[in-house]
Symmetry: C2
Subunit: 466 residues, 2 copies
Amino acid sequence: VDLAIKDTTLITFKDEGPSVIKNGAVGVEMDKICFVGKTEDLDEENYTKIIDGSDHVTMPGLIDAHIHSGLSLLRGTAQDVPEIEWMDKALGPIVKHLEKSDFITGSKLGILEGLRSGTTTFGEFTSDLDETIEKVHKPFGTRVVGAETINEIVDKKGDIYELESSDEQFQKADDLFDRYAQSDLIDITYGPQALDMVTLETLRKIKHEADEYDRCIHMHVAQGGRERKQIKSRYGCSTVEKLKEEEILQDNLLAAHCHDTTDQEKKTIVESETNMVGCPSSIATIDGIVPPIHRFLSLGGNACLGTDQIPGNGAHNIFREMRTISLLSKCLDGDPTALPAWKCLKIATKNGAKALGLKDKIGSLEEGKKADLITVDLKNTNLSPSVQRPFRNIIPNLVYSSTGMEVDNVFINGRKVLRDGKFISIDEERIKKEAEERAKKVLSEAEESWRRSDSKMVEYERDDLL
Amino acid sequence: VDLAIKDTTLITFKDEGPSVIKNGAVGVEMDKICFVGKTEDLDEENYTKIIDGSDHVTMPGLIDAHIHSGLSLLRGTAQDVPEIEWMDKALGPIVKHLEKSDFITGSKLGILEGLRSGTTTFGEFTSDLDETIEKVHKPFGTRVVGAETINEIVDKKGDIYELESSDEQFQKADDLFDRYAQSDLIDITYGPQALDMVTLETLRKIKHEADEYDRCIHMHVAQGGRERKQIKSRYGCSTVEKLKEEEILQDNLLAAHCHDTTDQEKKTIVESETNMVGCPSSIATIDGIVPPIHRFLSLGGNACLGTDQIPGNGAHNIFREMRTISLLSKCLDGDPTALPAWKCLKIATKNGAKALGLKDKIGSLEEGKKADLITVDLKNTNLSPSVQRPFRNIIPNLVYSSTGMEVDNVFINGRKVLRDGKFISIDEERIKKEAEERAKKVLSEAEESWRRSDSKMVEYERDDLL
């Protein structure tokens, strides 16, 4: 047997709570976890390599269930602007100038940042998904649940977007299921962009196929006023009502954002067993809105965390998201008991696994599950001191004190990706160099259209505030 | 002349905005800044040592204007509990078991964390301030503006705290002004704990002395319901009304928290030129409240940032506080333009300096000011890519993307404290070891009274959720 980590504080999440094992050990055979228990029960002779896990937490890898990693070249280029401007005036004029290869370079940078801070699974949502998988996730060895974007808008100018059903897009997405059927690290979901951006015809086809072949759907749901207006005009009801009518709301759906929903609609979503992913830093920064993760959990639903995209969020770091959603929820409710630390850790692991349709494979440390795990250095100043008696302060510290940089080892599918805080086979410096060169080029090419947009970002620049 | 950093992106804050100088240079002679400008105008031959500042931001050291560093042994021991429980039931039973030396060990750990993340000035609020100064701030070489706590509660049992004017406490605090009068790095302010915790007699004495000798007062103001009730019973009005009546509200006052204030009271505070310090992570975690920093700024007041104490906040890291207050303010107002990045950076530097009575000494990079400055590595993955044209993404990235660990050099009063992310003369490992040993001991001794308190923390522990 390959590898064991011993004498460590294991956070397993095998049951409802964190199910911590003190002086714990975890054994890995090939891609799977073969032992979870006390160190004293570990049969050390069976293992080729034993890692000393003392002064470390060993826990499931974090799950970023909603990420558009390809935009990472544009860090810091669109924030502090009115919500209405963010996409069309601030980000849009720059995105137009990204070449296909820039999305790949961006994705490398973004996934690098996620891995460094302990994320092992990415719910990637992008066009040209196969490119991102082949050029980023496969070489990096990350676990990915990818959605190929289906967006059928042909004209955005009118009051209501003009849509046209695209068999080509559907087919491109559909083909990926077969292509990656045998892959252990890659799963595919359907990715209809949002109810206002796809035809009912396509949506129904997706639903039919998903039900038929037991596939998941990942979709932006109830993102705000513009969508609401579109859906009201087109269908005379709300997004959630229409999705319910079409029977899209069910346990194979991962609904992103969901902030433009009434209490009743949240209940409807939860009762349908639809999974919800919220992106705290992104939505707080772009919309000034607290993602309703806490509401969905209170209603008994499954909710988890995502980082969306770097422009707006600023980072792909799930440790940050745990703390951010806890503080935002506490302030929204005026209730400091809202989203306690252990729940934040759970939504970032076990809940994420369920949301991505991988609850039997990952999300907790259990024998037979995939060996996606991370260690966190409790001796790091940011997490000191750590105590076990009369109570453990470790989980609160992971959530409220960690920056993510305390992660020192990352294993995915039994393979080590990060050792002592350093990447083993990813050339970090080269990726950063390439990202910087391309970002400079893209922004320089975008200058004219960016200035013409006259967004609040342009105003900041003019006023010398950037 | 001693030292210059050249070819760097200087964020100077010499005027209203960040006043960035591209390809900038800063020269340091002894404890002072002797040159700020373009690298091409730097007379390199005059300097003994020239540091290459390319791919770095060089900016004023951050200012943590309100910190109780002594409680840092208790990281992760009190959070996710109802506000009413936090001090008395969750934290109190443990604090009781801290020995005097534990506050010093805790302070070392807390200040270490602040320094590592770029904080150069600390608005320390503590009992036995001289011990903290002599054993922590002096050996560490930090700039400190210290308030010796004056708390005159003799009995907390009744509906209204019983107070007794303490000449001893006043004298102890008062003596520190003379003791540190000649120190360049140490300033003293008065530290009446709060209006409900000191007698009017003492408060008037403090005001008289402060006015007479041009000294500052640092005080918790309008912290919440319990204070409001006390003040209403005792004086028949609110804290702000009483402080106004006593003419305590003026530009030499630094008022901490101020969240339990009406709009009119905020206006009153601002009009009096009182300075406000908010502690976003602390107050969000402990109270579920957004500190009204944004409100005070909107009214034209001076507001800045603090980290309060580690239990609750989780860290002493002003980079975190910048991002946290921006996101919280955006969500409170539903306005993504609230507290844009440059303003967050300003409240963490220039505003903090003014609030602590040091506006002529620190807070911006200007010739003649003290050389308190930090460099931040823009090549760090978390901050990549960084661009300068057609606009800079650097300030947004410092606020929304940095973890604080990207700070690599820290200078205070012209002396280097951190080099390439490592402390030069502080034994970090030893401090952590001592902190861990003592934390274990204190918590073990506190176990019985902690359990008896039956706080929500005890419930979490019983339910195996910690």
